[in-house]
Symmetry: C2
Subunit: 369 residues, 2 copies
């Protein structure tokens, strides 16, 4: 066939040129580093912006799932429930195996460049690179809000196909100014999709962008069940005009949302009182933790509308390790927001353990000086 | 910002150029049609190559899954079990949200052109187009086996980065000649990845390509749990050299396999006796259904090593509709293998219903003539 060096010896064919995978893979992939989601054992896990509350009872519904059958490719029941909750039509919703997959699909369908403020959720940039598209991070301005003129300049210069705005923003915790966001959406109306990632919206006081959906045809909203108690299920949603959903749906794998996750999500969505109670508990705790952090000398928390708090400490490596020594895992923001840690709001008990450990660690730091 | 036509009226910003999504989306996506996995109601569902046997007891394990936590990004337990089963290392396995996702990742990581014999599993071509890569289908030869010289010519001409060989092949049911496959793998050793999709391997008498993994560095194998009773879970695997796995892993979403599917799959993998019993029952029934089909006048089944049988009938539309009228759903192969239907092997009872219905439909057809 292709090469004269392919020879048959006994029952097998041989070729003496072996593949050099490093040269064979696409260059944008070769230079990419795999996302590190390594497990660190701990007593109190406050590093991943998960909810501390699960829904053990939701499992009873699984007895009716036929695992030997393919899942509903349209996630009909789940989309119907959410459409009702959000006051939109199921045709405006696309289900994803987490928001991550929907970011993949958006960039696959529309291409790049992909622009986003930084620091923000890391997957926008990682997925852009995986798909061979340019990712452009524009530094945030004062108080971690959007830098309007810098964003405008970058948009003019780079002509992004997609702009991601995570609001509340991970890892800073704040919502961006609605007016600045709307100005970006309006100014790019025919040139860029603006994807407002509302993963943390349930914890925010802002009303979010769903009400704007009819006003801006380039507006796309992302929501997820990961932050409200169902991270293990991997269920995210894209919300946009039927026209946009239709195009993104073309690159969606037909059975991207497994049957178990569909069933549990649909079941839990019907227990709204419990969901809201969990969310209220987290918001209440966030305010308490923020107040307490503000009172610790050498610790400066940033205001948050999400289920986590970013805070600055004096010797970040030492505080991180000190907390871990006390069994408390938080997220080290090295390379993202220098000198900062990010703590997820846990149960009242977990938060108490975290605060006690932090005070101990910071105090011992002072004493050493 | 970008355009002088963006104006603020009251609280909102407006721009008078709305997005034309059809022009905004990538051209390869605009011309793509979404995969149609529409639901057709029926009494006996034999259209999707699912197993008729589920694992209701597997659910008890779910009580220990914490849905509020992110899943294990490495699917450690599941990969360990399969590595043991297959006699390889976990580092040679990559988990996917179904094989579909792994096809997506392979093409994302290595690019195209993507070459495959036709007819075959449709997703190779669909995903290639979704990712903007060229898909090349090369007609199969006699008895639906690979056409060696035609494949060799196409490989020389098109220089594919990836070659997909589904064996047993869907929808034809046969295994390709091992020697022809090995020759393709050896002749492309440094130029193409050859992905042997063994989705239907559990039902085949051939030993498969796992034993060859050490011999060919461009060999990639795909396996799935979808055909052996777990289609609802969406769990597929890529098996290859550590070097290839490492590159594909870079484009994998960190939490692509949800926690529920991981738990149920790991649990079921430990009930090997039950799994094997189901597989044996399906193979036994396949032989019976094949023999019976061969005896129906005007029906010509093709030999199968999978959990389905492709068969030719005289008036395919009428037989398809007639079966549906009897409550039996099979797959119409229109546009794939003209004049043929594909029936999944069900339980003995389901197969009896199918055969009885088919005989009735074919007989009434004869009588009408």
């Amino acid at each position: 066939m292709q090469s004269g060096l392919t020879v048959r010896i006994g029952e097998l064919w041989y070729n003496f040129f072996a593949m050099n995978v490093k040269k064979f893979v696409k260059p944008n992939i070769y230079s990419l580093t795999a996302y590190q989601a390594k497990e660190i054992s701990c007593r109190v896990k406050l590093d991943a912006n998960e909810s501390p509350y699960g829904f053990a009872d939701g499992y009873t519904v699984l007895k009716s799932v036929k695992t030997n059958r393919y899942p509903d490719p349209e996630a009909t029941m789940l989309k119907r429930l959410l459409a009702k909750e959000w006051g939109i039509r199921p045709a405006n919703i696309l289900q994803g195996n987490g928001s991550d997959e929907l970011i993949y699909y958006l960039i696959t369908a529309f291409g790049g460049p992909v622009l986003y403020p930084v620091p923000t959720f890391s997957m926008y940039g990682i997925i852009a690179q995986a798909l061979g598209e340019k990712g452009i991070g524009i530094p945030l301005g004062t108080d971690f809000d959007l830098d309007g003129s810098r964003m405008a300049g970058a948009i003019r210069r780079e002509k992004p196909k997609i702009i991601f705005l995570s609001s509340p923003n991970n890892p800073t915790g704040n919502c961006f100014s609605s007016e600045k966001m709307l100005q970006i959406i309006a100014s790019t109306s025919s040139k860029s999709l603006v994807v407002v990632d509302e993963a943390y919206h349930p914890f925010a006081s802002e009303k979010g962008f769903l009400p704007m959906l009819g006003d801006y045809r380039n507006l796309v909203i992302m929501r997820t069940l990961s932050k409200i108690g169902l991270a293990g299920l991997r269920v995210g949603f894209l919300i946009a005009s039927g026209e946009i959903i239709e195009e993104v749906n073309k690159v969606r794998l037909p059975f991207n949302l497994n049957a178990l996750s569909q069933a549990v999500a649909a079941e839990v969505m019907q227990h709204k009182a419990e969901l809201r109670q969990h969310i209220r508990a987290i918001v209440r705790e966030r305010e308490k933790v923020f107040a307490e952090l503000s009172n610790v000398e050498g610790v400066a928390p940033y205001p948050s509308e999400a289920n986590f708090i970013l805070f600055r400490v004096e010797d970040v490596d030492r505080v991180y390790q000190g907390l871990l020594g006390e069994g408390v895992l938080v997220r080290h923001m090295k390379g993202v927001v220098e000198g900062c840690l990010r703590v997820t709001i846990g149960t009242p008990e977990e938060n108490r353990i975290f605060l006690r450990a932090l005070k101990k660690v910071v105090r011992s730091e002072k004493e050493d000086k």
